[in-house]
């Protein structure tokens, strides 16, 4: 995370011009870059800033250097009205996120920020918090640091909370409506009448619906804490109308107090709180319904993505591939390697020899693109791994399912050990690209981007598989071979080649699944073990040899699991699902959808 260059960074240019041409050039460049970044330069503001470091900056510096955290909090609170000075906001949020640093010499401590722009070695110019000037060494050359080498200025959670409150007050007038909304909700929770004028004035100019709703909610919630019964009761009713989940707790407490102490609160409060609480609770029940539906779909997508490769190799080809999970892990580790190549490089060992790969050192959008590339590359690597497995072992075992089970189990153990030797037995970290982090909210139901991505990805992969199987000549051949190998061979289909391609395709899908799951689960040597049971379960439940069956089984298992979980808990929910599947298979041993073909029945 980098801090945009503070406004005053560009002010140094005019001052230094007479001193030294070399430095001037550098300063002018900084000036130019800074103005590019910000898009505008206000020369008057710049001139003013040279004359005196702003008082806000002085207060801020004082706050950073204060030893006592209560004193720090007090100073931070003082800055409430400094929101228009963007450096204050930048510095505060940098402080909160650990991007503010201290230069400590024998007797001075200078807080500084790093310029957003880094050089080839990832180092950036240090800018003093007090006046935005670059820190210089004895020769007058700006000192550069790499954020990774520095220790940020410490904060405690209380202090961060105070910083957050101050930032929230700034945020009330942020250009981003989502930021405004979050800030309003946060401040509304505090039920502090001091904020009311801020909310009211904001409501005058606010145009975005969500933010307006949050403002109404915050105002009503603040008023609901009022001592005046008329104001209070109407505010409570209003909260009910707004279906404010955040205030439910407060309303219920108020209801309890009103019931216990009718003399103080009166009938009006009691009935108002009851009505409001009921409205909100009904709303929550609906929200839970939709939330559960989405979570069910999302879990189904995860299981489906993982099981689809197996639906091909086990379902269509009838090979019991116990190494399916490890093929997924191949894909997941591929994502890790691609991430390293795009980012800061990586280090691993191949049979005891350490291999060091240099990364591109990209950041931001270019780095985030690694994930898309990783999905494609993992399809290839896992497909190749599958190909190798098929050529060296499985092709000798096509008519011997029990042996193929044992052989592939052995392969899975070997692969796990190879992962341990190459990448270590601890999990590796695959970071989430920024477009997959976070979530959005519709009617208080949470939609996380990574979950949505997996749902979309599952649909895409199912579509891809359907396209391959039903619209291409390879698909036709695959289906022919799977239905009746001998007959297909007789009419000239090269069954060996088709087997090979099918298995490689199934493995490739597993690899993509692994890369995809690196976003929500751990990447480690035992990744495969975690999913293999679910995969087999879904394929068997859906009916071996039937893609539609696999899809419906995945959806069934996922949704049932999510419906049961809130009632029974994660452990008992899973047990119930497994027990239900066993009972179901007693009733219909061939699964949901039965594929009739001569070869399968034989």
């Amino acid at each position: 995370m980098h801090v945009p260059p503070p406004l005053c960074a560009k002010t140094q240019a005019p001052v230094k011009i007479n001193l030294q041409t070399r430095r001037v050039r550098r300063c002018v460049r900084a000036f130019f870059l800074a103005s590019l970044c910000l898009g505008l330069v206000d020369s008057r503001a710049a001139a003013a800033a040279i004359a005196t470091p702003s008082t806000n900056r002085t207060v801020l510096t004082e706050a950073v250097l204060a030893e006592d955290s209560d004193k720090q909090i007090e100073l931070v609170r003082k800055l409430v009205n400094a929101g228009s000075e963007s450096i204050v906001e930048q510095a505060l949020s940098a402080w909160r996120l650990g991007n503010l640093f201290l230069l400590e010499t024998n007797d001075t401590r200078i807080p500084f920020l790093l310029e957003a722009r880094t050089d080839g070695e990832g180092k950036a110019v240090a800018l003093r918090l007090l006046d935005g000037e670059a820190l210089k060494d004895a020769d007058g050359v700006p000192i550069k640091f790499s954020a990774a080498d520095l220790t940020p200025v410490d904060t405690t959670s209380k202090l961060r909370k105070a910083i957050k409150t101050t930032l929230d007050l700034f945020a009330l007038s942020s250009p981003n409506s989502k930021i405004r909304r979050d800030a309003v909700i946060k401040l509304g929770q505090e039920q502090d009448p001091e904020y009311l004028p801020h909310f009211e004035s904001r409501l005058q100019d606010e145009t975005v619906r969500e933010a307006r709703r949050a403002l109404h909610e915050a105002i009503s919630l603040t008023l609901a804490a009022s001592e005046d019964p008329v104001v209070r009761d109407s505010a409570v009713l209003r909260l009910g109308e707004l279906r404010s989940i955040t205030s439910l707790q407060f309303i219920k407490n108020l209801e309890k107090q009103a019931a216990a102490n009718p003399g103080k609160f009166g009938e009006g409060t009691l009935s108002a709180t009851r009505a409001a609480a009921q409205r909100i609770e009904t709303y929550i029940a609906f929200g839970n319904l939709f939330g559960t539906a989405f979570r069910g779909v999302s879990l189904s997508a995860v299981i489906l993505v993982a099981a689809l490769g197996l639906a091909i190799t086990f379902g269509l080809m009838n090979i019991i591939n116990m190494a399916h999970g490890e093929i997924m892990a191949v894909g997941a580790y591929t994502a890790f390697v691609v991430q390293g190549l795009f980012g800061g490089g990586l280090l691993f060992s191949v049979f005891g020899k350490t291999v060091s790969l240099k990364g591109m050192g990209w950041t931001g959008g270019w780095f985030d693109a690694y994930f898309i590339v990783a999905l494609a590359v993992s399809f290839v690597t896992a497909g190749l791994a599958g190909l190798a497995l098929e050529r060296t072992i499985l092709r000798f075992l096509y008519r011997r399912p029990l042996e193929s089970l044992l052989a592939t189990w052995g392969v899975s153990l070997i692969l796990q050990q190879i992962f341990r030797h190459t990448f270590g037995s601890a999990n590796v970290q695959v970071s989430s690209p920024s477009f997959l982090s976070g979530s959005f909210v519709v009617h208080d139901v949470l939609f996380a981007y990574n979950r949505l991505f997996i749902v979309g990805f599952a649909l895409f992969v199912v579509f891809l598989t359907w396209l391959l199987l039903s619209k291409t000549s390879l698909g036709l051949q695959i289906r022919a071979v799977m239905q009746n190998r001998a007959m297909a061979s007789c009419i000239g289909v090269r069954t060996e080649r088709v087997n090979m391609m099918t298995f490689a395709f199934g493995s490739g899908l597993a690899g993509m699944a692994g890369a995809c799951l690196s976003q929500i689960a751990n990447v480690g040597p035992s990744l495969g073990q975690r999913y293999i049971i679910d995969c087999f379960m879904v394929v068997v439940l859906g009916g071996v040899g039937n893609l539609v069956g696999t899809v419906s089984a995945a959806v069934g298992v996922g949704v049932t699991d999510q419906i049961l979980q809130p009632w029974l808990g994660a452990v008992l929910g899973k047990i119930t699902v497994l027990a239900a599947i066993i009972l179901f298979l007693q009733w219909r041993p061939n699964g949901l959808f039965v594929t009739r073909s001569r070869s399968l029945e034989g």
Binding site: G98, T151, P152, D154, T156, S157, R160, K161, K164, D182, K186, Q189, I245, T246, S247, L248, Q249, F250, I284, G291, T292, R295, S298, L299, V302, S425, A426, N427, Q429, S431, S432, S437, G438, S439, L446, A448, Y449, N450, R451, I520, A521, N522, G524, S526, R530, D561, Q562, Q565, P566, G569, A570, V571, K574
Partner: protein
């Protein structure tokens, strides 16, 4: 000529060896930690720190017993994360190797499985990892944090911070369940109604935290909520990822994790854990001369690991990215407490050492500990906030908290 020279050298060498052998009287000490299997990630670090401590003691002259100095000779066995194997390996250490003391075990189930062996053979086990209490064996010394040293202090801290709702989330096994049972009682004593306490467990290796995070989100919607997490190992990764994606932060809903120390951090995405809390009796970041020395010496040792003075070949020590953590510190202090007790008793006899251990004091890296008659330590407790570097910043210290294994003693029935 050549052969004669060789003979002379051989004789000299033999005399030299004899001298060494004579000077170095040794005592065998057992190390019972899983070096393979699921627990290896955590337990290997404890094996490393024990060997380091033996080396430290041997370098400074060993244990002084009856006017002689005795060097420690480690006997390292691998119970391979297999609980019944812990009992077998413990028996092997006590009966075959006749070790004077054993340092080991991580999970409660491994301790429970070898406890009968230690009682039958009258052995001595030092147990260094936070645990659920409700146990006291005369053959085990628990240098570990008891529940009132690790779980109660952060709850007190959260109550003092104005938190009114507690979400107890744990992996499904004995330590989280027992700890949460105690915590629930404690919270009720502190006036938190049942409706404001939620207790949820997930299986080992659980990856789908959607429902739980959604319920946390609505649980914490009214503010003043916090999470007490006893989630173990890598299940923390999907949990914290989901948690961060839902827009929850340490500011609106802090998580106190009991099972994440500096060592576990090596496999976790530190970015998503920043600001959440941990509670231990030791943090690597605490600045005292003793701790700086311990950390520096250990980091130096892992680069060239040896146990001075005995013919033991140290292997399997990873020199990269090492840290120290509370279980490691407690392991090390256990060795020193045992050494002092042996020196006081003047013998390795288990019964005498046991008596001598009670009341034994040791100035550890972050303060003095005292072994109490209930086989638990009086120790300082720290609450720390997680930093992006994977270290903790101490935000609250509780001095000299006396470990108490039985909850009815500190809850008062």
């Amino acid at each position: 000529m050549k052969t004669r020279l060789n003979k002379i050298f051989a004789t000299i060498a033999a005399i030299g060896l004899a001298c060494v052998a004579h000077a170095a009287e040794t005592v065998k000490v057992g190390v019972l930690h899983s070096l393979s299997g699921t627990m290896a990630i955590s337990e290997t670090s404890l094996k490393d720190v024990l060997l380091f401590t033996f080396d430290e003691i041997n370098k400074s002259g060993g244990i002084k017993v009856g006017g002689k100095s005795v060097l420690i000779e480690p006997v390292v066995v691998d119970p391979a994360s297999n609980w019944p194997l812990f009992a077998e390996k413990a028996e092997q250490l006590l009966v075959k190797d006749k070790v004077a003391a054993v340092f080991g075990c991580w999970t409660s189930v491994s301790r429970k499985s070898c406890l009968p062996v230690f009682e039958k053979e009258n052995g001595l086990l030092f147990y260094p990892v936070q645990y659920e209490g409700e146990e006291l064996s005369k053959n085990i010394f628990y240098t570990a944090e008891a529940v009132n040293q690790q779980a109660i202090p952060p709850v007190d801290y959260m109550l003092a911070e104005g938190k009114k709702k507690f979400y107890l989330l744990g992996s499904d096994y004995v330590y989280p369940r027992t700890t949460n049972k105690i915590l629930k009682k404690y919270l009720k004593m502190k006036g938190i109604p049942d409706s404001d306490i939620e207790e949820i467990y997930t299986p080992f290796g659980h990856t789908d935290y959607q429902t739980i995070v959604a319920s946390i989100k609505s649980f914490s919607a009214g503010g003043k909520a916090c999470i007490i997490s006893t989630l173990n190992g890598d299940t923390n990764v999907p949990f914290f990822k989901e948690f961060a994606n839902a827009g929850l932060t340490s500011e609106n809903c802090p998580v106190v994790s009991f099972s994440i120390s500096e060592d576990e951090f090596r496999g976790l995405p530190a970015k998503q854990l920043v600001g959440h809390l941990g509670c231990w009796t030791y943090f690597m970041s605490i600045k005292t001369p003793e701790n700086t020395k311990f950390v520096n010496d250990f980091l130096k040792w892992v680069k060239a690991p040896v146990v001075t003075g005995v013919s033991y070949n140290v292997s399997g020590v990873d020199p990269k990215g090492r840290v120290t953590c509370s279980p490691m510190n407690l392991s090390r202090m256990g060795v020193y407490l045992w050494k002092q007790a042996v020196e006081k008793a003047g013998t390795f006899n288990v019964d005498k050492v046991r008596t001598a251990l009670i009341g034994q004091k040791f100035k550890g890296p972050v303060g003095e500990v005292v072994m109490q008659a209930n086989h638990h330590l009086v120790n300082n407790v720290f609450i720390g906030e997680t930093l992006a570097s994977g270290q903790f910043k101490v935000i609250k210290t509780f001095n000299a908290v006396a470990g108490e294994p039985f909850s009815d003693k500190f809850l008062g029935k």
